[in-house]
Symmetry: C2
Subunit: 207 residues, 2 copies
DNA sequence: ACGGGCCTCCACCGAACGGTGGAGGCCCGA
DNA sequence: TCGGGCCTCCACCGTTCGGTGGAGGCCCGT
């Protein structure tokens, strides 16, 4: 019997998943959580074989939840089930140790198979997700540093170099340096292009 | 008996909604659709009292679906149930004739009450949605003209004034004039801020 | 026919931005 | 310990951008 913990902040989705899994003889829903903290607590408590979790949640986000569960319940395999297929989301979830990444339009049969695979320790990716990961590896644009992303965030909100410098407590020259690095890394010319490109890549959230 | 049609491209959500409504004596799920076209077809066929629909769907998007259903089945009230609470989404849905706008984290009791209210022709809005609509009416930033939106599109892609002028077959001075108008209308300073603000407002699509 | 948006364009100016070529300090892994 | 990435900052320059104050032509509704 595969013991499953369902994590999602939407009651509708929890109900739907529980209903789907209830008819499978070898699956048993042992608990439900509405946010990340509750998920970690229940995972530590129940030691489920598979945690079926959304990424966007209150209190503790998906990536943090995955990391924590890997710590407190290392035998549990976390399967991400989400609507969002942004590059950054996928990458971070997989890096955090997700056993798989499925989208919410996954057909029922595929979902239950994925849960069984995850319980055996296999990695399951939705086709669309796999494609993105491959593309990601292919055109390997250099990663921005944490500070560069900070600058990009502030600039995206419309700040001038001087305003960004003030907000980040650094000199204006430094902001310009970071921006120039960002431009070359993203292969663009101009702050506006950098912002939209970064949104495409999921480096900063689209508004 | 209130007859309900469920529209969502995620099987999980459809299952969850159906499960939630099944236990209500006065509600009956008469059909489910996975995309907009199917929704319109079923609405015309089944004449449900309430259509519970997502906004993001394949084939025909939420707004188009609402418009079409209003045409082919005017007696049906469409209740939007979605994860997204973007300004533009809400406004367009309500303009298209939605009877209400709920978010997917709506508790079960509120949801079923909303369906009953919608079947009586009442308008139901999630608190967060209502707040946004009010805010929208308050700081009533003037609408951009079609040409201004054209300019904004090109600028959002990272074009300089000169490049934008070339792409739109107008002079650079004209681009600058449009941009200045855009800045005052959106209440921002700088092209980058204009782009992100326009994305927030749904004037141009977020990447 | 007249006013009023909308789109187009001009000249001009100061400020901000993009770009170059540095340099020093920090920390981490080889 | 010694490189190497990262963050920080400087001076300087040319270009672009933001902003002002116009102006003419177009179409639409009154």
């Amino acid at each position: 019997m595969i013991r499953v913990l369902i994590v999602d902040d939407h009651p509708v989705v929890r109900e739907g998943l529980a209903g789907m899994l209830a008819t499978e003889d070898d699956l048993e829903v042992v608990g439900q959580a509405a946010d990340g903290l509750e998920a970690v607590r229940l995972a530590a408590d129940l030691r489920p074989d598979v945690v079926l979790s959304d990424l966007r949640m209150p209190n503790l986000d998906g990536v943090g939840t995955i990391t924590e569960i890997a710590r407190v319940a290392p035998a549990s395999h976390v399967l991400v089930l989400t609507t969002y297929d942004t590059d950054a989301d996928i990458l971070r979830a997989v890096e955090a140790g997700a056993a798989g990444y499925l989208l919410k339009d996954t057909p029922r049969a595929v979902l239950v198979d994925a849960i069984r695979a995850a319980s055996r320790g296999e990695t399951v990716l939705a086709p669309a997700v796999a494609a993105r990961l491959v593309r990601r590896l292919r055109d390997t644009h250099e990663a921005l540093t944490a500070r560069e992303i900070d600058v990009l965030h502030v600039v995206a909100s419309g700040a001038s170099n001087a305003q960004a410098a003030a907000k980040l407590h650094i000199g204006e020259a430094t902001v310009k340096t970071h921006l120039l690095h960002i431009f070359t890394k993203l292969g663009v010319e101009g702050r506006t292009a950098a912002v939209t490109r970064a949104m495409e890549l999921g480096i900063i959230p689209a508004p």
